[in-house]
């Protein structure tokens, strides 16, 4: 009985802990020169299990990606798909629901990865906000260089992403 109570308590606490949730992303790809290239890139991205829909803007080489509600999003896999198709990410801006998320030293965890807000002020994040990834492989070289300063890695496992609000 005692263990069940503890289990319920743990469950309840884990539910009440605020979780960041990735809703959608605007992904701009560089190196695309034709609709064949865009189509190949989109088909490659669509094979990821956490993507529910992609709307392309062929004039701007921009894909608006909607994520599935309860699937953990892996930014790393998205970058791999774009690079595998032969292109590179120029900008990745994700819309994240922070739901009263408390930051710890400007970082939060999501699906095993650590996310560091480069220009955060350690305040509680709330509501839906766009964040831009500035890691190598996710942004234009000039942007990567601008935010090249290393961040403190909070957890040993997973990747650390640098985000700009």
């Amino acid at each position: 009985m005692k263990t069940i109570k503890i289990l319920i308590a743990i469950l309840a606490s884990s539910i009440s802990v605020a979780q960041a949730q990735f809703i959608k992303a605007d992904l701009q790809v560089s190196g695309l020169t034709c609709s064949m290239c865009s189509k190949a890139t989109e088909k490659s991205l669509r094979s990821l299990p956490f993507i529910s829909d992609i709307k392309p803007d062929l004039n701007r080489n921009l894909f608006t990606i909607t994520f599935k509600a309860n699937s953990p999003v892996s930014l790393e896999q998205m970058s791999k798909k774009v690079q595998g198709a032969g292109f590179s990410i120029n900008q990745l801006t994700a819309t994240v629901n922070f739901d009263k998320l408390k930051l710890n030293n400007n970082t939060f965890s999501y699906a095993g990865d650590t996310y560091h807000l480069v220009n955060g002020n350690n305040k509680e994040l709330d509501g839906t906000m766009p964040v831009t990834v500035v890691n190598k492989g996710f942004a234009a070289p000039a942007v990567v260089r601008k935010y090249a300063a290393p961040v403190v890695t909070a957890s040993a496992s997973g990747k650390t992403y640098k985000l700009v609000l």
Binding site: T33, C34, M36, S38, K39, L58, Q83, A85
Partner: protein, 256 residues
Amino acid sequence: MLAWLCTAMAQELYVNTEPASNMAAKSLGIRLENQGYFKPDFKQRSTLELMYGVNKNLMIHSTAYLSNFYQNQQRFEGLSAYAKYRFYSIDTVQRHFRMAAFAKVASIKNPIPNQEIALEGDNTGIQGGLVATQLLHKLALSGSASYLRAFENKGGYQPGTRNSIAYTLSAGYLLFPKRYTNYEQTNINLYAELLGKTNPGKGQHYLDIAPAVQFIFNSVFRVDLSYRTPLTNRMVRNTQNMYLVRLEYNLFNLFN
């Protein structure tokens, strides 16, 4: 002409050459091609080519050749294999510069009455070279230089020329659509390509101009039409005044 080129959106899917860019990884392209000439007699060659994107940097082609160039009946002539490795890329949204190294090997059974070394069905040999492609806003230019070495053709035919240097310069632009709205829009691309070869120490050389038009349907099916004709010609060969008709179908993201 140049001003017009600069206002159109450039394309890199060259008809007579390969760009430094590769096709998408894990994608298969299937090409059916017919090339030929009308003088002194109508002769034609058909090729089946399979192209595969191994990874983001490497793609391979393999091609089978069938023609009546050297006899009255259509006959299987041999095979070639081609690999291209992209080793340098600077990508931004509006411009990119890429470089790739390529190599080709062909095994062909045909007599060799020509001075041109052509690994597209005529000669057994090897080819290696570099290609660079620059996209500058709306103009895409591509240039390549390569070395060709001919060996004895199957059937014991010796080549009169063993060494050759090939060079190409290509430009392309998008005619339609003026503005992209979806993948189903038919693209019409126009190309102008310069194709040259010179056989060192032999005084044999040529430079062809090859205009081409290209249609892309549903972003997967491509039709190329081209005709090459000499600007200068001091080489005995099949390729002068040759037409090209090509159908290409692409299967993206095959193996996941």
